[in-house]
Symmetry: C2
Subunit: 477 residues, 2 copies
Amino acid sequence: MPATRPVERLQDSLRQVTALIEKHRVLEAMTHAQAGPKRELLESLQHRQNVAELHQRLKALHPADLAYILESLPLDERLMVWEQTEPVQAGAVLVEVAAAVRESLVERTARERLLAVLAGLDGDDLAFLADALPDDVRREAYARLDERALSWVRSSAAYPEGSVGHIMTSDVLTVREDQSLGGVLDELRARPELPASLDPLFVVDARNVFGGRLPLRTLLARDASLRVADVAERESVSFLPEDAAAAAAQAFERYDLVAAPVVDERGKVLGRVTVDAVVDFIRAQSDLEALQRAGLSGEEDLFASAWDGARNRWLWLAVNLVTAFLASRVIGLFEGTIQRLVALAALMPIVASIGGNTGNQTVALMIRRLALDRLGPGALRHLFTKELSISLLNGSVWGGVMGLAAFVLYGHAALGLVMAAAVLLNLLVSAVVGIGAPLLLHRSGRDPAQGSSVLVTFTTDSMGFFIFLALARLFLG
Amino acid sequence: MPATRPVERLQDSLRQVTALIEKHRVLEAMTHAQAGPKRELLESLQHRQNVAELHQRLKALHPADLAYILESLPLDERLMVWEQTEPVQAGAVLVEVAAAVRESLVERTARERLLAVLAGLDGDDLAFLADALPDDVRREAYARLDERALSWVRSSAAYPEGSVGHIMTSDVLTVREDQSLGGVLDELRARPELPASLDPLFVVDARNVFGGRLPLRTLLARDASLRVADVAERESVSFLPEDAAAAAAQAFERYDLVAAPVVDERGKVLGRVTVDAVVDFIRAQSDLEALQRAGLSGEEDLFASAWDGARNRWLWLAVNLVTAFLASRVIGLFEGTIQRLVALAALMPIVASIGGNTGNQTVALMIRRLALDRLGPGALRHLFTKELSISLLNGSVWGGVMGLAAFVLYGHAALGLVMAAAVLLNLLVSAVVGIGAPLLLHRSGRDPAQGSSVLVTFTTDSMGFFIFLALARLFLG
């Protein structure tokens, strides 16, 4: 039996493939160093053995593992492994691989080979890859589909990313409510092929309208003469293709679903969403959010050029420069005050920084609450009171500490008081903007995870500088 | 048929429950306002009707929906709903509800009721709740378990959070490889109860050692006289209870698993992990990481006291104050320089801020790469080169822009050059620390998502101030 611990097995495979590539490299280097017919014979023999071994190794791998290995290899080695992959397997790999790496492969694969690779894929997979393929290749790949598959691919590729339609598949098995359980079993046995995960079967009426679920355990355990309608579970969840995939994911989490039907406006079954697609969606979503919070537009291929990496970060850098520049102009207003008491220059970043950090804590909590629809008007009022109280509490304690530190450091009591007051006030600002910014973005239909932190940091920076320096001008002269 | 769109249904339920609570409130207010026996009769009748209606409404809800509603209600309304929940349902709700809210419920539930609530739960759920229960309640709840269930609860409660043992369940169904498929079907039918999700069955040998999977579709479709060993899928994934749940989650994602067995060192089947537990784990993990990145120790109950909220944020606030204070001391070293050219005070936060933002972009990418084990020594060298190149590129462009802006603003050419050089150099610093900090934390066995951003921001702040002010002193001063 093969090793069953997946992490170790995968790292083993990666090591073996890397070793084979290394060997290949050495052989190539030898070819260049030596000359003559004897060398050629030796080289070509060893070389062929080596390639055959690599080929064998790759063939034994799960497409997802091969995708991981491709993602982990620098571009030229990645392409070498990709070329050695059988077309059928390569199709499945193309579906599994990260988007940035998929792009690098599609770009560098000859048209004929790309078509051979796509030939092994079903309509669901083709629809998933549609956006990543050159127009002419996509058209030609579609040409071999029958009419039904083609209309499926067209319609499901048309649903936008983030919708249920985008992650649904066509491999749905329905049973009629007037069938007997024995009849269902016979029908399943008679099918040439069954979908990978069957459980539960979806129950429909004569017009193909969804009406409940038939778990396999019921099918197996209950008497074969019973009718489906007698044992089906009526309480059941379904989705429209236009529904948000995020809402579907929440339902899968909440009700521990393994599969759910996708229906049209009249309740007719169109396809289904399975839990593996939901898991992929949840992971991709949370990864993307983590990157977007840091101002990246998406995942980077580890081995892409510095130029691609730089572009991925430009927008954010530009926005950040503008906001930092504006905050700096606030300081510019008080240059006279700073010149008279230069300690202000050293202390002001503390006031700004503590406001930014506290504001972003509030943002992190808000994003989750907004995602869960947890903020009715009553809850919102409560939340403002609560966050302001927290700021008052923390501001008094830590503002006091920083005021004391400023006093000890500069021996200037009024400066200490100004410091303490500024920290407290900026924490109150951070509470308001920490709730307000994500709320505003959410209400205007945007993703609060994407712009909140810029807004908050900008506000707490400028207000931090302003409050501290204005208080200093007023009271320290 | 009930509404099947889960999001709408849930919001409907929340509205209905809230309306009933509101009615209850009004009745209570009337009780206080009026007096006399007639009023009492009226009130108690209406009141009883109202409570009965609430009771009925709650009974019809899925435990996960009821958990959501409890989480969305302020403390006193939450407790009112909780009191009206049937013990059997309340047990399932306690398992589903968020940890912070669970705490609020357990704290305020009388011992007798709590025991009644726990009485409906199986060993897996009790083990899951173990840490949340008072010692004496836990002991008494355990007392009713039979010996086998008790040893299961004890051993699985002992596995730490984040391990496979913590999320595994005991409801695993195994079949012997020497059975016939027909025999397996008969055995399933003979069982008094089958687990909710059956697929796939796990195949074991005579010593209960795991040897493969038997998907239900194979069981249903193939000839009943075939032996399990002939049709089982040999290539299969299993876990040890000590394995990281995160590694199991990656395997579920990668291989589209619905369930996988947990085995001991000799390969004997102990239990299983199902995809719903994995989905919950992935979601909890990514939520926790988002909160921890912002320096929060965990989720907050929306309706908990400001005091609890303040404590959740203290550690971070304290750390942030210390680092901001240290960065401020760097500025303190250059007070003379600032006094001579006060424009420096206005410009220095730009240099610091742009370094922090860029560094945290690198961190976001690094965290994901480390989680996927994607950084061999070769990749790391490549990554340093790449990030430094990106910084050089972005630093030249945007440093140039900021230098020009400083020149235009202050009419001081040398100041512009110093600004441009400082931005470029601080971006190089941010590349090094953006890779180095998460790597260091990861290698020392910590979670890079938790401390990286503090380290990076501290370094880019202090170095930003230092580079800019030191260059200014050298060339302007």
